[in-house]
């Protein structure tokens, strides 16, 4: 558990339409969220990322908190002449954030990557930002065993606080210090 007693964020979801619950997240802590479809996991992450406002969620965050967020389906530039190198430049990151398996594909178009390769690229960018809080919505999509291993290692070495959603309870237990199950309606 973290040394700093002051949490990075405190979140409380009031009852209606979904059941109430609350949690705190501390600096460097890895917290897993699971729950049935419709339990509000994605809404909650989008609220923290500032992409959506939900009236029944009360959120207190440390001021100027640097957040890196990856949605369940990161937008993919299909039919668009964007290379992996371009993608990294737009994210303001160097090729060194990429896993070895993608470094040979710097000049490939993003829409020529397989689903797993693009997911790995998006994860490299999300984890590569010097953020204090990383929000990941079902990040294990499309990853083959070696990519999943790379992701596990990257997650383990990250010093940021991480809030990750997954339906894979065993994976969450293996990678997170705590796992919270969101109550369904």
């Amino acid at each position: 558990m973290p040394n700093n007693p002051e949490p990075l964020l405190r979140l409380r979801r009031h009852a209606q339409p979904l059941p109430a619950f609350a949690f705190e997240l501390h600096s460097g802590e890895k917290l897993g969220l699971c729950g049935a479809n419709g339990s509000g996991k994605t809404t909650l992450l989008e609220h923290i990322a500032g992409l959506r406002r939900s009236a029944n969620i009360e959120l207190v965050m440390r001021p100027e908190l640097k957040i890196s967020y990856q949605s369940q389906h990161p937008p993919r530039p299909l039919g668009w002449p964007l290379s992996v190198r371009d993608y990294l430049q737009l994210a303001g990151l160097a090729p060194s954030v990429l896993p070895e398996s993608l470094r040979g594909l710097l000049d490939a178009r993003c829409d020529a990557l397989s689903g797993g390769q693009f997911q790995q690229l998006a994860l490299s960018v999300t984890l590569g930002h010097a953020a204090e809080l990383i929000l990941l919505d079902e990040p294990g999509h499309h990853l083959d065993p070696s990519a999943a291993q790379w992701f596990s290692t990257a997650l383990h070495h990250s010093r940021a606080a991480i809030l990750v959603i997954s339906h894979d309870h065993a994976w969450l237990q293996a990678h997170c210090a705590r796992v919270i199950e969101l109550p369904a309606a």
Binding site: L51, I67, P75, P81, S83, L90, A91, L113, S114
Partner: protein
């Protein structure tokens, strides 16, 4: 070539370059139809010039600016751009039918008679190209970031600036080369570049080169065979699009 054709050649060259840039941004936002709407809005402004007592070029820019203001609101619905297109087209043709000078201006907009272009068109397009060259590279990066990383949305000011630049450039080009030719120059080079370029900077270069080449070929063919420039250019671009379609690669990394 007679010296009276130097100015049309220059105006068309400037239009080809500026429209290729505009087309890339519109395609990036999946709003290629906005190119036609903005060109038509510029045309409406030109036709309405006698009503306002203005010269045609400032009036075209006014029409485009009005379209740029309402377009973000209209584009919230799937058919918003079609509403803008049909409204500007319908109003333009009504004015053409009812104003004394309407028929002459309407003919220019349909035929795309580049050979009647004036110095103010070339100056307007040169300013448009300068603005596009300076601002659009940075603005295109903002658009791409917004599309790829939704947590980094573009400010309203930047969004509106993009609309004004695109609308202004399309209107200026439509005033010189006609509505449909302006749309074709914005739409087709960008479409081909999106399919064939491996990265964004290559797409920009490819679209500019294709637009310029199509303009030069159309200009000299139209001149040689004494045909209107707009339809010749549009058909050349269409042939290029059709010829390139089977060549598109679709390989996985």
């Amino acid at each position: 070539m007679d010296s009276i054709f130097y100015l049309p050649l220059l105006s068309g060259t400037l239009a080809a370059l500026v429209l290729a840039w505009c087309g890339l941004l519109l395609r990036l936002r999946s709003e290629s139809l906005a190119a036609l709407s903005y060109a038509q809005a510029g045309g409406l402004g030109m036709v309405a010039a006698p009503l306002l007592g203005w010269a045609t070029l400032p009036s075209a820019l006014l029409g485009a600016a009005a379209a740029a203001l309402v377009k973000p609101w209209l584009a919230r619905s799937a058919d918003g751009l079609i509403v803008l297109l049909l409204a500007t087209w319908g109003l333009s043709l009504l004015l053409v039918a009812n104003l004394p000078s309407g028929e002459h201006i309407g003919r220019m907009l349909i035929d795309g008679q580049l050979y009647f272009t004036r110095l103010e068109h070339a100056i307007g397009l040169a300013i448009g190209l300068l603005v596009a060259s300076v601002l659009l590279p940075g603005l295109s990066r903002r658009i791409q970031r917004e599309l790829l990383f939704p947590a980094q949305p573009m400010s309203r000011m930047h969004s509106l600036l993009i609309e004004f630049i695109l609308a202004g450039c399309l209107a200026l080009a439509a005033a010189s080369i006609g509505v449909m030719a302006a749309f074709a120059l914005a739409f087709i080079p960008a479409r081909i570049a999106f399919r064939f370029a491996s990265r964004w900077s290559h797409a920009v270069m490819l679209a500019l080169a294709l637009g310029l080449l199509a303009h030069l070929v159309a200009f000299f063919l139209a001149l040689h065979f004494d045909q209107p420039y707009g339809p010749v250019l549009t058909l050349i671009l269409l042939v290029a699009a059709l010829a390139s379609a089977p060549l598109a690669k679709n390989t996985k990394a």
